[in-house]
């Protein structure tokens, strides 16, 4: 029997499985208080998914005050939509608006790597469409366990195939991302997915259900039993008697994606936007229809009535609770004026997209959902979507933080002879975290749509937005979880600094920030301390750089048993470039006779470094110092240098230090170089330190004086550190030795195929 509102009123004392659905006693009591009665099964399903950590941000919301407290009016001025919308939107000039967002799909990707990763891509792409934008590109920051652990192969192969299998079929270029290995991610890989889209600023669509009488249309795939997860406890209770105990086939809690349906849905949505017949639009992701209907109604100016029995299904006998919680993929929900419904349906029919009018916007402020005429949900939508519980979780600096910071890398044995240094360069180049990502990125289409100007292995991905003017955007994501573990405030600012620098080295001006905050359990005070420090670090760092956080995502409970992952606040920075033709490439050798200049200062900083991790398995001490004013200056000089044609190549220094940057810049450019180290500083420190705020640039000899004078005048330290040598085919480092490019290439490119090929 279907549990209706009338039934709920008549059976106030009926036991409900709210604990199995993840609700706490006081949360259940609050739902009863809001409704003035017990919730129906369908209402309980809605509240339980919408009040989950994933949907309600109940543990993190209290810290969002740091975003608003650190956003100045100048920073706000470029934002057309910010936190709270499906994705942040920024004005990039010439009437173009760009929307971008990062989201996590960590837990499903461990259970079912291929589908978990695939549907992660699908979900973020729909978020971008829900803003009215054409999706332009995707990126995937990924984190895996130890490279030689037997399960890593299963997880990595599945996730990479899933990202590629779905993204490649959608026709969106994959322009970058990260692949990082650390044992802390063994039982909890991180799959973060980023999508960027563009639209004319006037075409921005927000998820609002406004206008009484407007129709609510569900379109895209049918709704099935996949991705229902915890709500199945309701189904089993309801159905155990009805079906003679055989029960229904339970589908996996991880959703299954169909990229072809999504591709068609993208084209269909874009045609609908172009026709101007969409009042409000929302994607169906986590929490499915529960989320879409309550969010649309909550953000609108009226109520909503939905006839749930009209939803097209692909399984028989689904209950209202199941339909509301199903996370079947490739579905969208639109609000449309009655006069436009026919036109809407025509566009959907052209693309063979199933579209069904399931309800309408009503007067009043209730979300009412009926099932064959009987009311199964009658709630104030804000209480479902926006007024969920909020917790001020206990915060406590981890007990081992002091001892961790005290155990610095100073005592680790360092190579000192030329032969040892040379061997260390090769070893580091071949290490799993520094080796070429080609084996992964070759499985992604980076060319489709013809707008990709830079993609992996460049520091940023770059996409042309306007074919006439060449205006485009650059995007980078970064995070070194070891730095964050050592000092979450500084470590998060280092992630921001690196992503900012990676955008600037392409010649683009950093403009806005998104994030995906991956942490352990919020119920662990030590994790909440890391989280609070990270949010504050990011918010205050963004203020110093003058670029706003436009949105983000929080993923908690990333842990195995009681051991949390390295705190991993992945930071994404978006930059704008007025003409992509002046982008700065990563590889040297584009012009004859280039000088290599090292910008910034190198200090003895090895806490959390790749060298300490790879060679000594050591994590301790303090992360490198962060100087955001310096990063900003560096960015301005790179952009000015690009504008005036003074820079022919540039590559950021980060994991692995100068040695790794030299290896990559030679191999990508396919030319050799002669490098002169500073005689006054330890060669090991110069080659492997991970001091922030540094970039290696190649400048044409004719521009060298002009460029270095600009650096000097503006107070940016620089050092002439080498010359490009197109004839030699060798990276020669004075005082260390010669590294022929074929030998370097074998080291750099051999590792991932040997591990996973």
């Amino acid at each position: 029997m279907i549990d209706t509102v009338d039934n709920a009123k008549g059976t106030p004392d009926q036991d409900q499985p709210y604990r199995e659905l993840g609700l706490k006693d006081d949360e259940y009591a609050r739902i009863r208080e809001i409704l003035g009665r017990r919730p129906t099964d369908a209402e309980l399903a809605m509240y339980s998914v919408m009040w989950s950590e994933h949907c309600s941000y109940k543990s993190s919301k209290v810290h969002w005050k740091h975003w608003s407290a650190n956003t100045t009016p100048e920073m706000k001025a470029k934002m057309l939509a910010g936190i709270g919308e499906n994705a942040g939107v920024v004005d990039i000039g010439d009437g173009w608006a760009v929307t971008f967002k990062l989201e996590s799909h960590n837990h499903p990707s461990y259970v079912e790597p291929y589908q978990g990763a695939a549907t992660g891509v699908g979900g973020i792409v729909r978020d971008i469409m829900a803003m009215g934008a054409r999706p332009l590109a995707v990126m995937d920051p990924l984190r895996f366990g130890a490279p030689d652990h037997p399960d890593t192969r299963r997880v990595l192969s599945g996730i990479v195939s899933g990202v590629g299998g779905y993204g490649n079929c959608l026709g969106l270029p994959n322009i970058g991302g990260e692949v990082v290995f650390d044992p802390s991610y063994q039982g909890n890989p991180l799959v973060n997915a980023l999508c960027v889209g563009a639209m004319r600023a006037e075409d921005l669509h927000l998820a609002h259900a406004s206008g009484t009488g407007n129709k609510v249309i569900l379109f895209g795939a049918r709704t099935g039993l996949d991705g229902i997860g915890g709500v199945s406890v309701l189904a089993s209770e309801t159905f155990s008697g009805d079906e003679g105990g055989t029960g229904r086939k339970k589908l996996p809690a991880v959703q299954v994606g169909d990229p072809f349906t999504e591709k068609v849905l993208i084209e269909c949505c874009l045609e609908l936007f172009a026709e101007g017949i969409v009042v409000g639009i929302q994607d169906l992701g986590g929490a499915g229809l529960s989320c879409a209907t309550s969010e649309l109604a909550s953000a609108g100016d009226g109520g909503m009535h939905v006839e749930l029995d009209r939803v097209p299904l692909r399984a028989t006998g689904m209950t209202p609770a199941e339909i509301l919680s199903s996370e079947s993929q490739e579905r969208m929900c639109a609000v449309v004026r009655p006069s436009d419904v026919d036109a809407f349906m025509r566009v959907c029919a052209k693309w063979d997209v199933i579209a069904t009018e399931i309800g309408e916007v009503t007067e009043g402020d209730r979300l009412v959902i009926t099932w064959h005429g009987e009311t199964v949900v009658d709630v104030p939508p804000r209480t479902v979507a926006h007024e969920g519980p909020m917790y001020e979780r206990p915060i406590e600096r981890p007990a081992d933080q002091d001892s961790l910071q005290a155990a610095g890398p100073e005592s680790l044995a360092r190579p000192s002879t030329p032969d040892d240094l040379r061997a260390e360069i090769l070893r580091m180049a071949a290490s799993p975290n520094l080796a070429s990502r080609q084996w992964v990125t070759e499985q992604y289409d980076r060319y489709v749509r013809g707008g990709t100007v830079l993609a992996q292995p460049s520091d940023s991905g770059m996409i042309r937005v306007d074919e006439e003017t060449g205006r485009g955007v650059a995007l980078a994501t970064d995070c070194n979880g070891r730095f964050v573990r050592l000092d979450p405030y500084v470590g998060t600012q280092l992630a921001l600094a690196e992503a900012y620098r990676n955008v600037a080295v392409t010649g683009a001006t950093p403009l806005a920030v998104t994030n995906c905050l991956n942490f352990g359990s919020p119920e662990d005070p030590a994790v909440m301390w890391q989280f609070e420090q990270a949010v504050r670090g990011l918010a205050e760092g963004c203020k110093e750089l003058g670029i706003p956080v436009t949105g983000g995502n929080v993923s908690f409970y990333n842990q195995t048993g009681s051991t949390a992952i390295l705190p991993t606040p992945v930071v994404g920075v978006l930059g704008v470039i007025d003409d992509v033709r002046r982008r700065i490439p990563t590889g040297i050798g584009a012009e004859a006779g280039e000088t290599l200049l090292l910008l910034g200062e190198t200090r003895d900083e090895f806490g959390g470094s790749e060298w300490a991790h790879e060679v000594h398995g050591h994590l301790g001490g303090l992360p490198p110092r962060v100087d955001l004013a310096r990063e900003k200056l560096l960015g301005e000089i790179l952009v000015a240098g690009s504008r005036d044609g003074m820079i022919s190549a540039a590559h950021d220094l980060s994991d692995g230090g100068l040695a790794q940057t030299l290896v990559e810049t030679c191999l990508i450019g396919e030319v050799g170089a002669r490098v002169f180290l500073d005689p006054d500083q330890d060669p090991f420190v110069q080659l492997f330190s991970e001091s922030a705020g540094r970039v290696l640039v190649a400048v044409p000899r004719s521009e060298e004086l002009r460029f270095t004078e600009m650096c000097t005048a503006r107070g940016l330290p620089w050092r002439r550190t080498g010359v490009v040598d197109p004839e030699s085919g060798t990276l020669e480092i004075q005082g260390v030795g010669e590294l022929p490019l074929p030998e370097l290439r074998e080291a750099w490119e051999g590792t991932l195929p040997a591990l996973f090929g």
Binding site: C169, Y447, V448, G450
Partner: protein, 223 residues
């Protein structure tokens, strides 16, 4: 001069193909899978993608689209047709080109800049190249391993109908390093690599792919 590019549901490189056609100087005409109407085009390109999701077999469903009937008729009368990637698969499924494309030898999707050797510059789509020229064009697919029975391959090789061959490494294990073939008339060509992604050095590895779109203009004028 009008050159069409067909959009099936799931076609991905249609806008790129239209851009490449424009770059060659021709009028680019968008053709829709559901319309049995070629809009008076002089030549047709079937772009890459995953038509109808390719869930059955790459290209297997697209061959039944209404527009394909028109294309098969026009092709039999001599209209130049180029199938790129999924378009090549569709042409094989439609019987306009011999052979079939199997899953890549490495069982992975492969996206890389690929060197090709132009083996025959007399086809409608290759007259702007020198025979033996080496060009670099992106390749990106899951099912790119060309295969055919021995007599077919012997015939293709004997008649100079292997138009493009992989060089500097075979990305997918295709028979005889075959990257692209033509029909007996040389007017229908299919290849796995993507010339439409190599029309300028800003967004591709080179502009080597433009030659195919320029070649067909010559062949249409000549005909």
């Amino acid at each position: 001069m009008r050159i069409g590019a067909v959009t099936f549901p799931g076609t991905l490189d249609d806008s790129d193909t239209l851009r490449a056609i424009k770059a060659s100087g021709a009028d680019a005409v968008a053709l829709w899978h559901g319309d049995a109407d070629l809009k008076q085009v002089d030549a047709v390109v079937l772009p890459g993608g995953f038509s109808y999701g390719d869930y059955l077999r790459a290209g297997a469903i697209a061959r039944f689209a209404p527009v394909m009937g028109e294309i098969v008729d026009a092709a039999r009368k001599g209209m130049p047709v180029l199938g790129i990637c999924n378009g090549f698969q569709v042409l094989c499924e439609a019987g306009l080109l011999p052979g079939a494309l199997l899953r890549n030898a490495g069982l992975h999707f492969v996206c890389r800049d690929q060197w090709l050797k132009v083996e025959n510059n007399t086809s409608a789509w290759t007259t702007r190249y020198d025979t033996g020229a080496e060009i670099i064009v992106p390749i990106k697919n899951m099912d790119g391993r060309y295969t055919a029975d021995k007599s077919t391959v012997d015939e293709l090789e004997g008649e100079g109908r292997v138009v493009f061959r992989y060089t500097g490494g075979n990305p997918n294990g295709s028979l005889g390093d075959i990257a692209g073939v033509s029909d007996a008339t040389g007017r229908i060509v299919g290849l796995m690599p993507h010339p439409e992604h190599a029309i300028d050095a800003l967004t591709g590895p080179s502009d080597d792919g433009l030659g195919m779109f320029l070649s067909v203009l010559d062949s249409v004028v000549a005909a």
